[in-house]
C-alpha cells in the first residue's frame, strides 16, 4: 500500500532525463528516494554499537573487524557482527559486454543498466544491506564486495561511471565465476541483455542460485531490439562479433519479432521454473516504473 501510495503520489523522471544528470549518485538517489520500503523488511536502521555475534573470518572481510581477543584465545579469526550487519548481502552483476552499449534513444542499455544498478545499490545500502558490484562480459571485469560502510556507494558509483562496453559476452562463464564470489543467502541481481540460449542461461542461473541465493534477473533491451524499425534492406553489424548481414525488412518485420518474443518468453518461463524473479525492461521505460513493478513483485512474494 505504501508503494502504491508512493507510486501514485510521485512520478520519477524519465530515464532519458536522468541520463542528463551527470552524477550517477544523484540520479540513483532521485530514483530511489521516493520509495519508503527497501528491498526487504529490515527492522534495523543505522549502525549499532552493540555487539551481536561472531562469525568466522572469510577472505575479503575487513581485517579491522577481526576480534583479536578471540584470536588470542582460540587462534582463529572471528569477525564481530553488529545488529546492522545482520542484513542481506546484495550482489549486483552488470553485463558490460559490447552489446550492452547499444542504443537507439538517449540511453544505452549499459547506461540504463548502470542507473538500475546504482539504484539497487543505493536502495540496499539505505536499507542497511551490504551492496556490492560485479561487472562482467567475457569475464569478471570488476568486483566490489558487498559492504556496509561509508564510501561503499561512492565506490560502486565510481565503478559504474567508469564502466564501458567491453568485448563479447560469455555469460555462462561469467556467472560461474560470479557464483564463486557469492556468499550464501545473498541476493544477486543480474542486469543484462541476455543474448544467450535460454537453456544455457537457466543452467548458469541455477549455479548462482546454489547456496540458497536469491536471484533477480533484469532483462534490459533497447526498444529497437524488440521492434527494429527497418523498412528497407540494410546491412547490420553485430556490435560484439562485428559480423555483418544484409537483412530484408520483410523478414525482419515478421520473423525477428517472433523470435525475440519467443526468447523473452522462454527466459521468463525458465526463470519462473527456477523460482527466479525476471523482469523485462526496455530503455525507453522509466526506471521508477520498473522498480515499482519489481518491488511490487517482491512484496507479493514476501
Amino acid at each position: 500500500m505504501i508503494f502504491a501510495a508512493t507510486a501514485r503520489a510521485e512520478r520519477f523522471l524519465d530515464p532519458g532525463v536522468l541520463a542528463r544528470i551527470a552524477n550517477l549518485q544523484l540520479a540513483a538517489r532521485t530514483v530511489v528516494e521516493g520509495f519508503i520500503a527497501g528491498l526487504h523488511r529490515s527492522p534495523q536502521y543505522g549502525l549499532s554499537p552493540e555487539f551481536a555475534e561472531y562469525r568466522p573470518y572469510t577472505p575479503g572481510d575487513d581485517p579491522r573487524s577481526v576480534d583479536w581477543n578471540v584470536f588470542a584465545r582460540t587462534d582463529r579469526y572471528y569477525i564481530k557482527k553488529y545488529p546492522g550487519e545482520t542484513n542481506t548481502r546484495v550482489y549486483i552483476a552488470l553485463d558490460v559486454s559490447r552489446s550492452m552499449g547499444y542504443r537507439s534513444g538517449a540511453l544505452s542499455k549499459l547506461e540504463y543498466g548502470s542507473l538500475l544498478a546504482a539504484s539497487l545499490a543505493y536502495f540496499a545500502l539505505r536499507q542497511r544491506d551490504a551492496a556490492g558490484l560485479i561487472l562482467f562480459d567475457t569475464e569478471i571485469r570488476e568486483f566490489i564486495p558487498p559492504r556496509l560502510r561509508p564510501g561503499q556507494m561512492s565506490q560502486v558509483l565510481r565503478a559504474l561511471e567508469a564502466a564501458r562496453p567491453g568485448r563479447g559476452t560469455d555469460f555462462c562463464s561469467s556467472l560461474d565465476k560470479l557464483a564463486q564470489f557469492v556468499r550464501h543467502r545473498s541476493l544477486v541481481a543480474i542486469v543484462s541483455d541476455l543474448y544467450e540460449e535460454p537453456e544455457r542461461l537457466s543452467g548458469a542461473f541455477r549455479r548462482v542460485q546454489f547456496g540458497r541465493n536469491d536471484l533477480m534477473v533484469f532483462h534490459v533491451l533497447d526498444p529497437n531490439e524488440v521492434s527494429p524499425d527497418l523498412r528497407d534492406a540494410a546491412v547490420l553489424e553485430d556490435l560484439e562479433t562485428r559480423d555483418r548481414m544484409d537483412v530484408a525488412p520483410a523478414y525482419v518485420q515478421r520473423e525477428y519479432r517472433k523470435l525475440i518474443g519467443q526468447h523473452m518468453e522462454q527466459l521468463r518461463l525458465a526463470c519462473r521454473d527456477s523460482r527466479l524473479d525476471y523482469l523485462m525492461m526496455n530503455t525507453a521505460q522509466p526506471l521508477d516504473e520498473a522498480l515499482f513493478n519489481f518491488l511490487s513483485l517482491r512484496q507479493r512474494k514476501s
Binding site: 544505452s108 541483455d193 534492406a233 540494410a234 546491412v235 553485430d238 556490435l239 537483412v247
Partner: protein
C-alpha cells in the same frame, strides 16, 4: 522534336553523377550497428546482393531530375504540320498592305488585288486577326485588328479601291513596322501590289522587315504593260487677252509601248476649254519614246476656265491620258502713274517695261499729280508715285485710303522729291522715317550699284543666280539716304549698304502694300531702265503691289495648295468653299488645318474655289511617275524577295522560337522537375528517418573508436 538550345542537352550527361554517387555510397555504405545478430541469423532470408542499387526510387528520381532540367533548358519544341498548338499564345496578326495607287487602276489589277487580299485572309486561323492597310503615297490603316472576316471582306470591297495618288513602298513598310512593333503576336504581312518600279523612290531607305515578321509578296501583274500618258504641260494660268497669247506645249510619253507598237503609235490630243473641244492635234509617239504637241491661239472667256488635253484613243490607264489645267482670263491691271517730273522718260520706260512680253499684265496710265487729286483710285491695280514733291490737295490722304483699302503704292524717289512733303502727305505709309538726298561723287567712284537683295522675295524671284547680273549692273548716281527703316523692310541695298528698296505690306485691314525705291527710274539718277533686269523688276514689283496671285495652272496630286494663290495676297475672304472634282465640299478643318486656308488635292480633275462671288479652279493631275507601269526588275525583285526572305528567314529563324514560345514545353518540364524534387526530398527524408534509429549507436561507436585510437 527539336531544340532551341540543343547544347544544354549535354547537361544530361550529369545523370551519371547520381548513379556514381549511389554506387559509391553503396560500396561505402555504413553498416547499421545492432546489438546482436543472434536472432537474424535464425531468419531464413535471401541474400541481398551487394551489387544491387539501393533506394532505386531515390536514384531514379535524381536521374530524372537531371534529365528534366537538361531538357527544359534545351527548350524543346515540335515543328512541322503535326506541331501541336502548344500552350502559349498562337494567334498571329495578318497585315495586308494593299497598293491603292493610280497604277492599280490599270486593267483588272484592282480586282486581282482584292482577290489576293481575300486569298491572304483565307489563311487566317481561328485565333488570328487581320489589319488592312491601303497605301499609295500615304498609308492608311483601315481597321483595328479583328478576326471578323465579314468586316475584313467588306473593307476589301470598299477600302481598297485604287485612287489617284502615286506609289511609295516606303510608307507601306513604315506602316508595317509600326503595326509589327505594336502587335503582341507574330505578324504575317502580305504586300499586294503591281510592284511598279517607280514606287521605289530614289534615296529611300533600304527595304527592311522587322525581325519576326514574315512578308510575302503578292504581285497582281508581273508583265510590263504598255501605257501612254500626257505627262507634261507647259501653260501659264493667267492671261489678259481673249486669245491665249502663249504656246501651250504638251508632252506625250509612251512606256513599254514597243510591244503594242513596235515603231510609233499614232495618237490624237484634244484640247477642251470648259468642256468644249477647241483644238485637236495628232502626234506620233515612238515606241518607248515621247512626242510633243503645241496648242495656241485658242479663245478664252473672261474669268476662270477649265482646260484639259486628252489623249485619244485611250489605253488601259485612262487616268493619265488627260491633263487638266486652269486658266484665268483677266483684264490687264491698270497702273496709275503719277509723277512730279515734266519729263516723260520714266513713264516711257515703265510703259515699255509693262508692255513687254506677249501677255502684258498691266497697262500704264500716266496722270499729272494735280489731276490725280480727283481721280478715283480704287480701280487701279497699283499706283506709281514718282519723283513727287508736295502732294496736292488731299492726294496724300486719298493715297493712304487707297493703300489701306488694299491698294499698292510704288514710291520712286528722284531729284524733285520733297521728302518732307511726302512725309507730311503719306505719314506712316512710308517705310522710312528719314531721307537725305545724296549724289555720288563724280571724281570718286562715280556711281554705286545694287549690292544685295532678298532673293526669297517675290519681287526678285525671276532673278536666278545667272539673271542677277541684269539688275546688279545698274548704276546709280543719285539716291536718297533712307533712315529709320527696319531690316525686315529692306528688300535691296546699294553697294554702300544703304537701303535701295523698301517694302511695307499688310497695311490696313485689306493688306495694302507700299514699295519705296530710293532712286529714280528715269535714266537720270540711274540707268536702271536700260538694263535687262528692269522689265522683270518692274513686273514683279507691280505684281507684288497688285497682290497678284502666283497660282500655277495645274498641280500634281497629292498637293496642298494655298488658296492665297487664288485670291491673291489680299486678306482672306470672309467666306469661301472648296469643292473636289466629285462636287464634295472640303470641310473647314481640312482647308484651314495648316493655319492659312488651303485645299488638299487628292483626286484628279478640278477643285472649285468659291469666294467673294467668284469662282476659280485648281487643276489636279496624276504624278507622271505612275504612268510608267514598268515593274521592278528581276534583280530588284530578287533583292526584295531576299530581304523578305531574310525577314522570312528571320521569321523562319524566329519561327522555331515562336513555336517554342507557343508550345511552352519548358515550363512543363520544370514543373515536373519540381514535383520530382519534392518526391526526392520525401524519399530522402524517409531514408534518413530509418537511419536515425541507428544513429545514436553509430555515434557511440565512433566515440569509442576514437577513444581506443587515442
Amino acid at each position: 522534336m527539336q531544340f532551341l538550345s540543343p547544347w544544354y542537352l549535354l547537361g544530361a550527361l550529369a545523370v551519371g553523377v547520381p548513379i556514381w554517387v549511389h554506387l559509391v555510397r553503396h560500396e561505402r555504405a555504413r553498416p547499421l550497428p545492432f546489438a546482436s545478430l543472434m536472432f537474424f541469423r535464425r531468419i531464413p532470408q535471401p541474400t541481398v546482393s551487394r551489387r544491387r542499387l539501393k533506394y532505386l526510387l531515390l536514384l531514379a528520381a535524381r536521374c530524372l531530375l537531371v534529365l528534366l532540367m537538361a531538357l527544359a533548358f534545351a527548350r524543346p519544341y515540335l515543328s512541322g504540320p503535326a506541331a501541336p498548338a502548344g500552350l502559349g499564345p498562337q494567334a498571329r496578326l495578318f497585315v495586308l498592305l494593299a497598293d491603292c495607287s493610280l497604277s492599280m487602276q490599270y486593267g483588272d489589277r484592282a480586282r486581282r488585288a482584292a482577290d489576293a487580299a481575300r486569298q491572304a485572309l483565307g489563311r487566317m486561323g481561328a485565333l488570328d486577326q487581320a489589319q488592312l492597310v491601303a497605301f499609295d503615297s500615304e498609308a492608311r490603316v483601315l481597321n483595328a485588328p479583328t478576326s471578323d472576316l465579314g468586316v475584313l471582306h467588306g473593307l476589301i470591297d470598299s477600302g481598297l479601291r485604287p485612287g489617284a495618288l502615286p506609289t511609295n513602298y516606303a510608307v507601306a513598310l513604315r506602316a508595317l513596322e509600326k503595326l509589327a512593333q505594336a502587335a503582341k503576336t507574330p505578324v504575317s504581312a502580305f504586300l499586294i501590289s503591281d510592284f511598279q518600279k517607280s514606287g521605289w523612290l530614289p534615296g529611300s531607305a533600304p527595304l527592311s522587315v522587322t525581325p519576326g515578321t514574315s512578308l510575302e509578296l503578292m504581285p497582281v501583274d508581273q508583265a510590263a504593260r504598255p501605257n501612254w500618258s500626257v505627262s507634261e504641260l507647259a501653260v501659264s494660268r493667267d492671261t489678259f487677252q481673249s486669245r491665249y497669247p502663249r504656246r501651250l506645249q504638251v508632252r506625250v510619253n509612251g512606256f513599254q509601248t514597243a510591244a503594242a507598237n513596235p515603231t510609233r503609235a499614232r495618237k490624237e490630243l484634244a484640247l477642251k476649254i470648259n468642256g468644249r473641244e477647241v483644238a485637236r492635234r495628232a502626234v506620233e509617239v515612238p515606241a518607248g519614246g515621247a512626242a510633243t504637241a503645241v496648242f495656241e491661239g485658242f479663245e478664252l472667256p473672261p474669268g476662270a476656265s477649265r482646260g484639259e488635253i486628252r489623249l485619244q484613243p485611250g489605253d488601259g490607264l485612262p487616268q493619265d491620258d488627260v491633263r487638266y489645267f486652269a486658266l484665268v482670263r483677266r483684264e490687264a491691271g491698270r497702273v496709275l502713274y503719277l509723277t512730279g517730273s515734266d519729263s516723260g522718260r520714266e513713264a516711257a520706260y515703265l510703259r515699255e517695261a509693262l508692255g513687254a512680253g506677249e501677255d502684258p499684265m498691266f497697262t500704264l496710265e500716266p496722270r499729272p499729280l494735280a489731276a490725280a487729286a480727283s481721280e478715283p483710285l480704287e480701280s487701279y491695280a497699283a499706283i506709281v508715285l514718282s519723283n513727287a514733291g508736295a502732294l496736292p490737295g488731299r492726294l496724300g490722304a486719298r493715297l493712304k485710303e487707297y493703300v489701306e483699302a488694299g491698294g499698292g503704292l510704288f514710291l520712286v524717289l528722284g531729284d524733285r522729291t520733297d521728302w518732307a512733303a511726302l512725309a507730311r502727305g503719306l505719314g506712316a505709309l512710308l517705310p522710312a522715317s528719314g531721307a537725305e538726298k545724296a549724289y555720288v561723287r563724280r571724281d570718286a567712284e562715280q556711281f554705286i550699284t545694287l549690292g544685295e537683295f532678298r532673293r526669297d522675295h517675290v519681287i526678285f524671284q525671276p532673278f536666278a543666280e545667272t539673271a542677277a547680273g541684269g539688275l546688279l549692273a545698274a548704276r546709280f548716281f543719285g539716291y536718297f539716304r533712307l533712315s529709320g527703316a527696319g531690316d525686315e523692310a529692306v528688300l535691296a541695298r546699294f553697294s554702300t549698304g544703304e537701303p535701295a528698296l523698301l517694302a511695307r505690306a499688310r497695311i490696313g485691314r485689306a493688306a495694302g502694300r507700299v514699295l519705296l525705291l530710293a532712286s529714280s527710274a528715269d535714266n537720270v539718277w540711274s540707268d536702271l531702265p536700260l538694263h535687262a533686269g528692269f522689265v522683270p523688276f518692274i513686273w514683279q514689283a507691280l505684281r507684288f503691289l497688285a497682290a497678284a496671285g502666283d497660282e500655277p495652272a495645274a498641280h500634281t496630286v497629292p498637293a496642298s495648295v494655298a488658296l492665297a494663290g487664288i485670291w491673291g495676297a489680299r486678306a482672306t475672304p470672309e467666306s469661301y468653299s472648296v469643292l473636289d472634282p466629285a462636287g464634295r465640299r472640303q470641310q473647314a478643318d481640312e482647308t484651314r488645318g495648316a493655319g492659312a486656308p488651303h485645299a488638299r488635292l487628292t483626286e484628279l480633275g478640278f477643285y472649285e474655289v468659291r469666294y467673294s462671288r467668284q469662282t476659280d479652279y485648281i487643276a489636279a493631275n496624276p504624278d507622271p511617275r505612275e504612268s510608267d507601269l514598268t515593274p521592278l526588275s528581276e534583280e530588284d525583285r530578287a533583292l526584295l524577295a531576299r530581304t523578305a526572305g531574310e525577314g522570312a528567314a528571320g521569321a523562319a529563324a524566329a519561327a522555331p522560337r515562336e513555336l517554342e514560345q507557343r508550345q511552352n514545353f519548358w515550363w512543363m518540364l520544370l514543373l515536373l522537375a519540381v514535383i520530382v524534387v519534392v518526391a526526392e526530398s520525401i524519399l530522402g527524408n524517409n531514408r534518413l528517418r530509418r537511419e536515425r534509429a541507428f544513429e545514436p549507436q553509430r555515434r557511440e561507436d565512433t566515440k569509442q573508436h576514437e577513444a581506443v585510437t587515442l
